[in-house]
């Protein structure tokens, strides 16, 4: 390796160092997966595998902006939002209204997701509820709404959407990754990290704290819209019950990926790596025919250990909260 590449590698590491152990875990899990479950990672099968993982990956990305925005920011409603969007899109837009054109469905997913996120953003930014309280409220509302709209699974999805659960899965993932990369070039990204790091300092130096925070939740909502598309693709129908489960997985994945729950540190890479860890871990343990019960123990223990090893990174400024009176 040339010295140039080496120093480039170092620079990359220092920027993405927060991913730390999650990345190492990912490498190990990937090697183990290739050895034990090569069938799922062949040229054809890998797209299906990736398609199945996509809702988890995207949910983890969706919960990231709210966490980055700091001050206990967290969007518990991401899962139920995905669920209610799945019902609205598949049952109502595609089913009842018969609008199955990709443009209409994708646009609707993004807009409705943004609206959901905006509700959270206003509750947190303008009404100034604690994020856990606000998004717990919308969690209950979204999940209740989904079941009210559609008490049991129903509907079918157009063929283009089904494709998103195999080869087509690259489209949402690449679009999201490219969008995130583009976001990093904007002043908004700087502002988001600034308010997550030290809100008071950011405010004093003229960052529009409230707007930035609201937009973080809107961004999370839009990403939940993308995640809902991926979810609809995998399900192939509208199912009101599966959404809420994604909240805890998404939060787990982001924490595993080294994103600080205190805000200001972390990002897309962390969310994706963490989510892939979880997905591969579940996949592998299932393959080993480890009972789901043992899997559950593994899952919990690995989560705790991974977060512990990240402790210095996650060393939480909420301990130095002070002066909020």
């Amino acid at each position: 390796m040339t010295p140039g590449a080496l120093s480039q590698g170092r620079a990359w590491l220092s920027r993405h160092g927060y991913v730390g152990l999650a990345a190492l875990l990912l490498v190990l899990l990937a090697i183990a997966s290739l050895i034990f479950t090569p069938g799922q990672f062949g040229w054809d099968a890998i797209w299906v595998t990736l398609g199945t993982a996509a809702p988890t990956l995207l949910a983890a990305v969706a919960v990231t902006p709210s966490i980055l925005s700091g001050r206990g920011g967290i969007d518990l409603s991401i899962g139920p939002l995905m669920g209610v969007l799945n019902v609205l899109l598949v049952q109502y837009l595609i089913g009842t209204a018969g609008l199955s054109s990709p443009f209409v469905v994708v646009a609707a997913a993004l807009v409705l997701g943004a609206i959901g996120g905006l509700i959270n953003g206003i509750l947190v930014g303008v009404v100034r509820l604690q994020p856990v309280v606000a998004t717990l409220g919308t969690y209950l509302m979204f999940s209740g709404l989904a079941i009210w709209l559609l008490p049991s699974p129903n509907g079918t999805v157009p063929i283009w959407l089904t494709d998103l659960s195999s080869g087509g899965v690259l489209i949402p993932l690449i679009v999201v990754a490219a969008g995130w990369a583009a976001l990093k070039w904007t002043p908004y990204y700087e502002h988001l990290m600034a308010i997550g790091g030290d809100e008071r300092a950011a405010f004093t130096s003229g960052v529009p704290v409230v707007t930035v925070r609201i937009l973080a939740y809107v961004l999370g909502g839009v990403l939940a819209g993308v995640a809902a598309l991926a979810l609809s693709a995998v399900l192939g129908s509208a199912d009101p019950t599966v959404g809420p489960g994604f909240t805890l997985t998404a939060i787990t994945a982001t924490a595993l990926g080294g994103t600080s729950l205190a805000g200001g540190r972390g990002g897309l890479t962390g969310a994706l790596v963490g989510a892939l860890d979880i997905f591969l871990l579940q996949n592998l343990l299932t393959h080993f025919n480890v009972s789901t019960f043992a899997l559950q123990i593994f899952y919990g223990v690995i989560l705790v250990l991974a977060v512990m090893s990240n402790a210095a990174r996650l060393k939480v400024p909420w301990l130095r909260r002070g002066g909020t009176a």
Partner: protein
């Protein structure tokens, strides 16, 4: 700034809402104001209230405990299994309390020692505990409710000649004990101090790690006890009995005016929050509202009530 006696202002506001909802219920639902219905309210509230004891203390400390539902499952299933294999009740409860305390204490220790947000640690520990329980029972918990337990928690149970289920009395005693612990003991004041400002408390030599360990241990123990009590109510073990309680315990605490940022609030608020959540659910159920709409409504109530009295200061006021 907050006026004198402000400590209870938010709980008081929530209390008024409880009464208003009760009055509305009496008008909307025939017989809602009756003795029998109040008894049901207190009975159902007792389960939620006891499960929320730990959440209250953890939130006062500035944390959050997501392992509560899993420890309820644990208490529920272990009690049934142990009773089924012939262990007397005192052994059952002792084993459950010790194990739950160890699990909770470990969560508290890791979170405090490594300064990791307890949200993730308690969630991970919860998954692990649930997995262990499922593995042990192979996914099909069996056994029976300890003798006498159904008579302790059922709606038709009574204390001597009084037609009041003993669990309501238990809840009252627990409430008094916890408020006493929080307000009148060294331990309780340390919980508030750490929740108010961890750094200032540490510089005043408030023991940080041990307080966290104990609070999380107590939280886990109360969750497990709530799981055992629910076993008496349902009669047979159910490995997922706790799941509605994950967010409900958080809801009762915040609706009762305890701030998630720590150091402000108390168990009185949680009692009020418990009654509010429970009566709301009862009214809607008896009006034939679907559980989906109930959920929507509960979410809206949480947001609206906290809007009334739990708003945070604007950043410009915190510089």
């Amino acid at each position: 700034m907050r006026a004198l006696g402000g400590r209870h202002a938010r709980s008081l506001a929530a209390g008024i809402v409880v009464i208003l909802i009760f009055l509305a219920g009496s008008i909307l639902v025939h017989g809602f104001g009756s003795f029998g219905s109040i008894r049901s309210l207190l009975l159902l509230g007792a389960f939620l209230g006891i499960a929320s004891v730990g959440q209250t203390m953890v939130v006062l400390l500035g944390g959050i405990d997501l392992s509560i539902p899993f420890l309820m499952d644990f208490g529920n299933v272990v009690a049934a299994e142990m009773t089924g294999s012939g262990h007397p009740f005192w052994q059952v409860i002792l084993v459950i309390l010790v194990l739950a305390g160890l699990v909770g204490g470990l969560s508290g220790f890791i979170s405090a020692r490594l300064r990791i947000h307890p949200l993730i640690i308690t969630l991970g520990m919860g998954y692990a505990v649930q997995g262990a329980v499922l593995l042990w029972t192979k996914g099909f918990p069996s056994g029976a409710a300890p003798q006498g337990l159904p008579g302790f928690v059922s709606v038709s149970a009574h204390i001597g000649p009084f037609p009041i289920p003993p669990i309501i009395l238990l809840w009252a005693l627990v409430a008094i004990a916890i408020e006493f612990l929080l307000q009148r003991t060294v331990f309780g004041r340390r919980v508030y101090a750490l929740g108010s400002s961890p750094e200032a408390a540490r510089l005043a030599l408030v023991p940080y790690v041990s307080t966290w360990v104990w609070v999380f241990a107590v939280s886990a123990m109360f969750a497990a006890v709530a799981g055992v009590l629910l076993l008496g109510f349902t009669g047979s073990a159910f490995g997922d009995v706790g799941s509605p309680y994950l967010f409900q315990t958080v809801a009762t605490v915040v609706v009762g005016g305890t701030m998630l940022t720590g150091g402000e609030g108390g168990y009185i608020g949680t009692i009020v929050g418990t009654l509010l959540v429970t009566e709301l659910t009862m009214i809607m159920t008896s009006m034939g509202v679907s559980s989906a709409i109930e959920e929507v409504f509960l979410g809206a109530v949480v947001v609206l009530l906290v809007m009334l009295y739990g708003r945070e200061a604007h950043v410009r006021e915190r510089i």
